[in-house]
Every structure is written in structure tokens, then in C-alpha cells.
Amino acid sequence: MGNGNSGTAGDGRLADNIVHFARVLRKAGLRLGPAAVTDAIEAVEAIGIGEREEFYTALHATLVKRHEDDAVFDEAFRLFWRSRDLVGKMIALMSPVVTRHEEREKRKAGETRVSDALFGGQEDRHRERDEPDIEIDARFTASGSELLRRTDFAQMTSAELAAAKRAISDLVLPMDEVRTRRFRRSTRPVAIDARATMRHAMRTGGALILPRHREPKTVHPPLVVLADISGSMSQYTRIFLHFLHALGETRRVHAFLFGTRLSNVTRQMRHRDPDLAVEACSQSVNDWSGGTRIGETLKDFNRLWSRRVLGQGAVVLLITDGLEREGIELLEKEMDRLHRSCRQLIWLNPLLRFEGFEARARGVRAMLPHVDELRPVHNLEAMADLVAALSGMVRRGAGDPRRFLPAA
């Protein structure tokens, strides 16, 4: 069997170069392991060194595993196989920088938690004092302009982390589960499990055939989170990122962030450490605290992602204040489509905590008819509310979005 053993690859030079090339790709963000590299060498051997195009295909087939990486691969291929020395120099130049950079990040993660452990909870009081400022901020900063920014979020305090975890632990409630077409063993006589019955009967040599039962297995449906990170939402971003991270430990979560454009941060959120995960998110998103284009980003989501992540009865959490300035028609249309392609659409709106909130903004009015529930989300209490909503503990209608619509 052709099992990646290429100790005798050519005269070694080409193999070395392929290894270097793989390193370049890895630095450029492709996820590829050593097995892929041996595959590549084997593929190039199999095809023989001939035409550039075939060489390209051999490398591409073995090193690229995601369509999104095509562009990076193309560029790397073009550069690398044109001038080898240049890239060699680049690697030499880049390596120390990259390692130093990573070291710095690693040290940073969890820093707050460590200092929390030392100085106990001061951070927490500090946060509470900050709250009133936030309220002024939140309403008037929706802007249509595209502002590209990277944000360095403050880290989560131990208390926040614990609270988020607590909120999550309530999440595992049976109401939120959907049936799958798989089965599990059951003591209740739901359906006969022929396979288990027969196997069990063998223990008695077939003298005693007692029926075994099975029932449909239930699982939590995946959660798809679309979170607004525009300027008007920036005060809440951190907390819900951490909420998402905690959620991801127990459930399948697909996370998307949007401001003026949509970014999928599902992979970034899979870091075990919450600080590292949030850090990775802020690295990969370019439009923190910029303007909002809800309609446009929803359109992107519907076109590129909805068919890929909304399977298996997904629940969508839309976290935004709904302050959209332009394109109300588009927003309405895309909301409608989103609503029709998921099992449940829950809108979390931080503005909702103000007494007497009314859907005056045009964006909010356009979105309201298309959501199943509208809930506040600005602190952990509200998070707990959300947990209840997800678990189906709250009567349908308590979060009915239509009650906020001014009587027309």
C-alpha cells in the first residue's frame, strides 16, 4: 500500500524543498500535518518531474484540504517555485519573529485570571462602576461607514468566567433536544432492537429470547450565533464571546461575527482557553467597533453559510441592536430567508433592557416580524434568561417580538 514512506525520495533536494514549501504554507495559515507532506513527496514522485501544471496539481491535491485555501496556495506556489532562495530567506527572517509573537500571546492568556487569583475580585467592582457609561454609548453610535479596526479585548475575570459557566451548566435541559434517526438502548418498550435481542439471546444459547428495546436518540441541535461587533455593540461583545466559548464546551456552536462584513470564527472559538479564543477572534476580524450593515452581512450568511451550518435543526441566535441605517428592504428580505431556514430564530438585543423599549428604529421594525423570540442580552442575568429560552422553560410568547411593535 502506498503509505507515505518516502525515505528514499529522489535525491533529497526536491523532498527538502517540498518540506520547506509546506512550512511556508503552514505559516500562511494552512492546516497541514506531516502526513500531508510525505503524501506530497510521494505524489510528486509518482507523477515524475515534468510539467509545471502537473507538479502544481500533485502538490495541490496533497497539501490543500479546503477550498478556501486555494488562493493562498496559488500565491505561495507562484512565489516559492519561482525563486527558492528568496523564500528561504523569508523563512529565516520570519521564524524568530513569529515565535516571539506567539510567546507573547501565550503569556497574556489567562493573565487576568492569575491576577484575579492574587488580588481577588477588584476587577469585578470596577466593572460594575463602568456600567452607566455604557448606557449612553449604546444608542447613538450606529454608523454606516466601514471602519476597519482590531480590538484588543480586556480579559475575562474569574468571576465572569465562573458566572458564564454557571449559566451554561443550566443549559443541559431535555426540552432543547431534537430527535435523531439514530437509536439508543432503551428500557422502555418503544421498539424492538433485533440486533441486541439476537446477541443477547446467544448468551443462553438461544434458549431464552428476551426482547431488547431501542428508542430514537436525542441530541442538542447545533447553535448558530451571529453576533454584531459594530461600535454600538462593542460594550457587550466581550461578554458574549465568552458566553459563546463556554457554550462551545458542551454543544456544537457555529460562531459568526459581523460588523460591515461577516467572519466565521468557529475555528478560533475552539481554542481551549477562553482568552486565547477571544484573542484569536480579534486577530481574525478586521471590523471591530466599526459600522453595521446587517442586511448585507445576513445576505452573505444566507448565501455562503446557511446551507452549510443550519442543518440538523439548528437554532440561530442573532445578537444585535438592530440599528441599521440603510437597506431596510434588503434587511427584511434576508431576515425572512434566515427565519425560514432555521428551526428557531432568537434575537438578543441589548437595547431591550431600557424601560419602555419600543421598536422605533426602522431596522428593528423590519427585523421583528421575522424572529421567534426577542430577548435582552446585556449581562449574565439576561444570559440566564436566554438559557431558559433555549431550554424551552419559558412559555412561548413571553419573548414574543410582536409586543414591542407599536400598534400600527
Partner: protein, 291 residues
């Protein structure tokens, strides 16, 4: 080789196929719906003259419907017969009823056992429709080409099957699985290729019409549609127009037959209106200019 099976492959696809055969690695084909991924496996099977075993994936696909199942009624009968004849030797009954005779082979097991010594082409279609659990199970099958049936032991393929996996990207497939495969992104063909495909698949379609059809579809893909028409849709459309005895496209025909091409109401509504008419005019003008 592919051309013999009436399949038009670009150079890179041919190279990847060659590599996958040579390296005995599964080939992972990804691409939009309707670009002809499944067709590749079919053509490959007929070109290599091997049986094609197809595992259509769906949510909830489990071992008993993908790998093997015991024939329970027959086993039950066997036990009753043993009872009636007074056999009480437990070992014998067990060996008897868990033998190949009562084993129902499902696609995975079929693919691993090649009766005539020639490995089949094993198509795992739309892998993205299964859940993660099944995907994880496939890891063993695809790297070692073996499965374990507890009562029979491990069954290993004498010659590994030629594995083709397709996905439509409705879900991200785990890296661990992709790592075991050669990856190829199947794209829409260009105009010349698509024209050739129509020529082969819809022989009754006249030259003018097929040119217009292809040009129109290629233009449609450039628009910002919710779901672009695939090659399969192009073939459907050409067939439909041929059945209707049309010699050329006109606005009425287009809007009457749009359902073969576009599958979302939004898209249809958009193309039915002025935009579609303009598109058609552009296509005709372009073809006229080209000669």
C-alpha cells in the same frame, strides 16, 4: 480514459485521478451541487470495468445500514429448528447463525470484499449529510480498509477499493478525514467544455441552441444568484428545450422553462423580469458578434 466514458475532465482532475489510483488513496471531491462529482465515480467504474458500490449518506446513517446486518428472521428460524431437533450445543448454534450465511452485506462491507479479486469503485456520496459519528467510523475504513464484525472477526480488503468521496459542502468535513484523502475542488466547466458536454449528453440539441444555452448559463453563474445552476441543470435545460422543439432561445421559452435551471423562487422571480430579458439580449448579441 474519462473521455471514453463520455466525461470531460480538465487536466487537473485527470492528474488527481491518476494520482489517487497510483497512490491508492481515496479521492475527496468537493464542489457545488450539480457539477458532476458523482458522475466521475460512475464513469471511472465503467472505464476501469469495475463494479460501482455506492453508499448514499444521510443523516442518521448507522453501522447496520452502512456496513452489515444480520438476517434476524432467518437466524430466529434457525434457532427454532435447532430447538425442534433437540440441539443444545450452544457453541454450534452460535457458530451456525453468526456465519456468512446470515450476514447481509451493506455497501461498506461489499466494497471491502472483491469476489473476483478486482477491487470495486466505492462511491461515498454526499458525505456531508451524515453526522460526525459516522465520519469518525469511516476513518478506520479509509486508512486500513478493514472493518470488524464482532462475531466474525476483522474483515480486510484483499485489494483496497478505489474510493471516491463527494460532498456538497453543506457541512464542514473534519480535517482528520480529509487528511487521508487527495482533495480536489470540482468547479463549473468553462464555456467550451460545457458546450462539449451538451454536445455529448444531448445529441438532439442543435448547434445554435446549445451555444445560446451555454452562454446563457455561464452568464447566469456570473450573477449574484442564491443558487447557481450546475452542469446537471444545463443538461436538463438543453434536454427540455430540445423536447419542446425549440431552435433558439426567446424570452417566453426562457421564462417557461426556467424551473429546470433555477430552483429558488427568488432567483426565478429575478430572472423572469427585465434582468433576464437583458441577459438574453446580451447573450444573443455576444454570439452574433462572435460569428
Amino acid at each position: 480514459m474519462l473521455a471514453a466514458g463520455n466525461y470531460l475532465a480538465g487536466r487537473s482532475l485527470a492528474t488527481v485521478l491518476f494520482l489517487s489510483l497510483r497512490m491508492k488513496r481515496p479521492l475527496f471531491l468537493e464542489g457545488e451541487a450539480g457539477v458532476g462529482k458523482t458522475e466521475i465515480a460512475k464513469v471511472l467504474a465503467s472505464a476501469l470495468d469495475r463494479p460501482l458500490i455506492r453508499l448514499q449518506c444521510y443523516e442518521g446513517l448507522d453501522i447496520s445500514s452502512a456496513v452489515y446486518e444480520w438476517n434476524y428472521p432467518a437466524q430466529m428460524l434457525e434457532i427454532r429448528l435447532a430447538e425442534a431437533s433437540g440441539t443444545t450445543d450452544r457453541g454450534r448454534i452460535e457458530a451456525d447463525i453468526f456465519s456468512e450465511r446470515y450476514l447481509i452485506r451493506r455497501p461498506v462491507l461489499q466494497a471491502l470484499s472483491s469476489p473476483d479479486g478486482r477491487a470495486p469503485v466505492f462511491l461515498i456520496d454526499e458525505l456531508d449529510r451524515t453526522d460526525e459519528a459516522f465520519e469518525a467510523f469511516l476513518l478506520e475504513v479509509l486508512s486500513d480498509f478493514q472493518v470488524t464484525v464482532p462475531e466474525l472477526g476483522t474483515i480486510r480488503a484483499a485489494e483496497p477499493p478505489i474510493v471516491i468521496i463527494t460532498t456538497n459542502r453543506t457541512r464542514e468535513v473534519h480535517d482528520a478525514l480529509k487528511r487521508r484523502c487527495l482533495y480536489h475542488w470540482v468547479d463549473y466547466p468553462d464555456a467550451a467544455q460545457e458546450l462539449e458536454i451538451i454536445r455529448r449528453k444531448v445529441p438532439g440539441c442543435n448547434a445554435t441552441l446549445s451555444q445560446q444555452v451555454v452562454a446563457y448559463v455561464q452568464r447566469l453563474r456570473g450573477l449574484d444568484l442564491f443558487k447557481n445552476p450546475g452542469v446537471a441543470e444545463t443538461i436538463d435545460w438543453a434536454t427540455a428545450l430540445t423536447e419542446l422543439d425549440r431552435m433558439a432561445l426567446d424570452p417566453e421559452t426562457v421564462s417557461d422553462t426556467l424551473g429546470t435551471l433555477l430552483k429558488y423562487q427568488d432567483d426565478i422571480a429575478r430572472i423572469e423580469g427585465a434582468e433576464g430579458r437583458k441577459l438574453l439580449d446580451d447573450v444573443k448579441a455576444g454570439l452574433a458578434a462572435a460569428g
